[in-house]
């Protein structure tokens, strides 16, 4: 500790240069933190998705399945509950933004959505007793200024029995996503009665977009998925059953190989940083030839001089990395919910630790060359200015 003033002095010998280096390193770690925090948050989201929830979709793609499958799926061993959802897009008045309408069985839906959605008491009963009712996400309530009890008229891509695209629903309740960090942006759907929706549409009656299946034992997920698919093999409506986690994983893969991109960019950033810091430290050592010679003269061992230099670069890198990742946390916090991904963004502790370790490595490697130069320093020659 008694050498601290010495290190401190060395660090701030050229004030402007040190500040610039601090900024450069911090900025690099902002990028590191944002990218890795984003990647890790997506991974965490995948890990959090329910492993005991299966989704049954049509193997023939964006098409739908017969609602009658519901009973046959429910009889599969290990299945505890079945629900289905059917989706429609709609627009309200002249707003260019689309609304998602989810037609489902309210009872089963509320039983399955306990983890993700806040459903006020009585809302499900209100929906059941009101054929044309709708439970609306808070996002829409705010966006369009709707009130409970109001009748809303929508334009949908689904054609009604009368051949028009006009649909009307009565708002009977408000629902919202549980996670407060992403609630405002992610409560953007409305739930309606499937029975009414299916009866009132012209086409594709008796069909649903997908089934949700709760199972007893998450470990049995793939076996149960296979037996569900086997039920409908070689029928006109073959199914593909995946766990919600698998789905999230493949969706995430669709964004591209995110981790590869993140790693490549971080590598490029740290690589150029290494050169920069190395050059700065080298210049520092060059300019301080005389001072280092003095240190050696008064009895500092070679290793002590090297340690002093390394400590300088360690302090620089660690402080800047901490500041940078702090800023990254801020950026992620602001970005949460503003991007089309169902995850709260944050900088997890392992990523922070990884950043610190990288800063350590950066500091030590970049001080290698300067250290070598200080080792080779001959006292007499240094004083002579040679």
């Amino acid at each position: 500790m008694k050498y601290f003033p010495l290190i401190w002095y060395g660090l701030w010998r050229k004030r402007g240069r040190t500040w610039l280096a601090l900024i450069q390193i911090s900025v690099s770690f902002v990028l590191f933190g944002v990218l890795h925090g984003f990647g890790a948050s997506v991974q965490q989201m995948i890990a959090r998705t329910d492993a005991d929830l299966l989704m049954v979709q049509s193997r023939s793609g964006n098409f739908d399945l017969p609602v009658a499958y519901s009973d046959r799926i429910a009889r599969v061993e290990g299945v505890t509950a079945v629900n289905h959802e059917t989706y429609a897009n709609a627009k309200y008045q002249n707003s260019p933004k689309e609304l998602l309408v989810v037609a489902t069985l309210p009872k089963n839906w509320s039983a399955m959505m306990t983890t993700g959605v806040n459903i006020p008491p009585g809302a499900v009963d209100a929906l059941l007793s009101h054929r044309t009712g709708a439970l609306v996400g808070v996002t829409f309530m705010h966006r369009y200024g709707w009130k409970v009890g109001q009748r809303i008229h929508l334009q949908s891509n689904v054609v009604g029995e009368d051949g028009s695209n006009n649909w009307a629903f009565d708002i009977v309740g408000v629902v919202e996503t549980k996670d407060p960090a992403i609630r405002a942006e992610r409560s953007d759907w409305m739930t309606v009665n499937y029975d009414y929706f299916d009866a009132a549409r012209l086409d594709r009656k008796g069909r649903v977009t997908q089934f949700f299946v709760k199972i007893k034992d998450p470990k049995q997920a793939s076996a149960i998925a296979d037996s569900i698919d086997a039920l409908f093999a070689n029928s006109p409506d073959e199914t593909r059953t995946q766990s919600a986690r698998e789905m999230a994983q493949s969706q995430f893969q669709a964004i591209g190989d995110l981790n590869f991109v993140i790693r490549s960019i971080s590598a490029a950033v740290l690589f150029s940083l290494l050169f920069s810091i190395g050059a700065l430290l080298m210049q520092g050592v060059r300019e301080r030839t005389t001072e280092l010679a003095v240190l050696k003269t008064v009895g500092f061992k070679n290793w002590a001089v090297v340690a002093l230099l390394s400590c300088e670069s360690l302090m620089l890198c660690l402080a800047a990395a901490a500041v940078g990742m702090g800023l990254a946390e801020g950026v992620l916090w602001v970005a949460s919910g503003r991007i089309p991904i169902d995850a709260r963004l944050e900088l997890p502790v392992p990523v922070f630790l990884m950043g610190i370790v990288l800063a350590l490595i950066l500091a030590l490697v970049s001080s290698l060359l300067p250290a070598r130069r200080s080792l080779k320093l001959e006292i007499a020659a240094a004083f002579a200015g040679r």
Binding site: G16, R17, L20, A21, I23, Q24, I25, V27, S28, V30, L31, V34, L35, R59, S60, G61, N62, F63, N89, A90, K91, E98, Q155, S156, N157, V158, V159, N165, D203, R204, N234, S235, P236, D237, E238, R240, S250, Q253, A254, I255, G256, S264, I265, A268, V269, F271, S272, L273, F275, S276, G278, A279, L280, M282, Q283
Partner: protein, 385 residues
């Protein structure tokens, strides 16, 4: 000595003894190369996607969709009414060149890693090739109405296993025979094609998702739109094919572009700050030299200019290095982010953006150090000799 000559003389001195400052120069080059390399690689993805998506499209072909953006339904009646409107081109027999289009989806495995992908199978009228004359068969033959036969786009065939002539694909539990391959329009090449009526029967659908219409000329677009407006039963959106695809892809590419520039900006700030630092160092090292020049009559302005030029000249090879690495790594590679195969091309335009960034980083990075040269106190700097 004139100012211009002074700049040149100083620049020549700087570049002449650049060997002595090689490590510093290299640091700047590497820093800038990293930024430019990342920027070019990422922008290329967006640019390639954009040009891929609209390749082969034209303004006198229209895509008519149901009102409501997400591809709603168009009934057969509506499709028929649309094909009889003003401005629609007719073939030799007087039949309108318009076809309802519906989509089926088939599942395949990617050739590269065996991962499942879905791709679209268009159901079209047999005269579709007359509506899209850019399309041609590369081998095999056209599908026949009434039979479960498909023809497959060459881009889809390259990306997916099991789509050779005679192979079968499965849709809705039924086998469809691959009888031909076609190419010509990028967004259509990425899928397969079958007879509309046959596909409709198989999918138990009775509506189209869109209608493709060829006009006499792109000038007839307004006429056609007017006719659509005049008929109140037709609630449809009409858009030229090229604009439609550009719009469809814009959301994705603008997100990609935003991310590219966001990352490049942060990296750029870091690299610029690094450049400032290194340039300061280089200027500091040459205080004596500069003071000497000032003493023998060089003006401050030529020195400032020369330092700026030097910084730009160092940034340039950095940009070229970054561009070369990005080009070598990514040009000509295929990526399949969303089931849509992109041939990555590193275009001159994207490289120009990268070089522009590098030069501005060099300029900003050299500015403050250059101004410092003007403030070198001559006598003091010389005394240090």
């Amino acid at each position: 000595m004139r100012a211009g000559t002074q700049v040149l003389v100083f620049l020549e001195m700087s570049l002449g003894n650049i060997r002595a400052r090689l490590s510093s120069v290299l640091v700047v080059i590497v820093g800038i190369a990293c930024v430019v390399g990342v920027l070019i690689s990422m922008l290329s993805m967006g640019a390639s996607f954009r040009s891929m998506a609209t390749r082969g499209t034209r303004p006198d072909r229209l895509i008519v969709t149901a009102a409501g953006d997400q591809g709603g339904a168009i009934t057969r009646d509506k499709a028929l009414a649309l094909s009889d409107l003003q401005g629609v081109k007719r073939d030799g027999d007087g039949k309108p060149l318009a076809s309802g289009v519906l989509f089926g989806f088939a599942e395949g495995r990617k050739r590269t890693d065996g991962v499942h992908v879905m791709y679209g199978v268009r159901g079209v009228k047999p005269n579709f090739f007359a509506i899209v004359p850019e399309l041609r068969l590369t081998d095999g033959r056209m599908f026949q109405s009434g039979l479960h036969e498909v023809i497959v786009g060459t881009a889809r065939r390259t990306a997916t296993m099991g789509l050779e002539l005679g192979d079968r694909i499965r849709m809705r539990g039924e086998d469809w025979l691959v009888v031909g391959h076609y190419t010509g329009v990028a967004y259509i090449d990425d899928g397969a094609m079958a007879d509309a009526d046959t596909l409709m029967a198989a999918l138990k659908a009775n509506t189209f998702e869109s209608v493709a219409v060829l006009l006499n000329s792109s000038r007839d677009l307004e006429k056609f739109k007017g006719a659509v407006k005049a008929n109140s039963t037709l609630s449809v959106n009409v858009e030229a094919e090229d604009k439609f695809l550009a719009r469809e892809t814009r959301q994705f590419t603008s997100l990609l572009d935003f991310i590219s520039y966001f990352i490049a900006s942060i990296m750029g700030i870091g690299a610029t700050v690094g450049t400032v630092n290194i340039m300061y160092m280089m200027v500091d090292q040459r205080r004596r030299e500069m003071a000497t020049l000032r003493a023998i009559g060089f003006g401050p302005f030529p020195l400032i200019l020369a330092v700026l030029l030097e910084s730009l000249l160092i940034a340039l090879p950095g940009a070229l290095l970054g561009a070369t690495v990005a080009w070598a790594l990514f040009n000509g590679h295929h990526v399949t982010p969303v089931g849509f195969t992109i041939d990555l091309t590193v275009t001159a335009g994207v490289i120009a953006v990268g070089v522009g960034w590098a030069l501005s980083m060099g300029l900003i990075g050299g500015l403050f150090p250059a101004l410092r040269t003007a403030r070198v106190p001559i006598a003091e700097a010389l005394r240090a000799v």
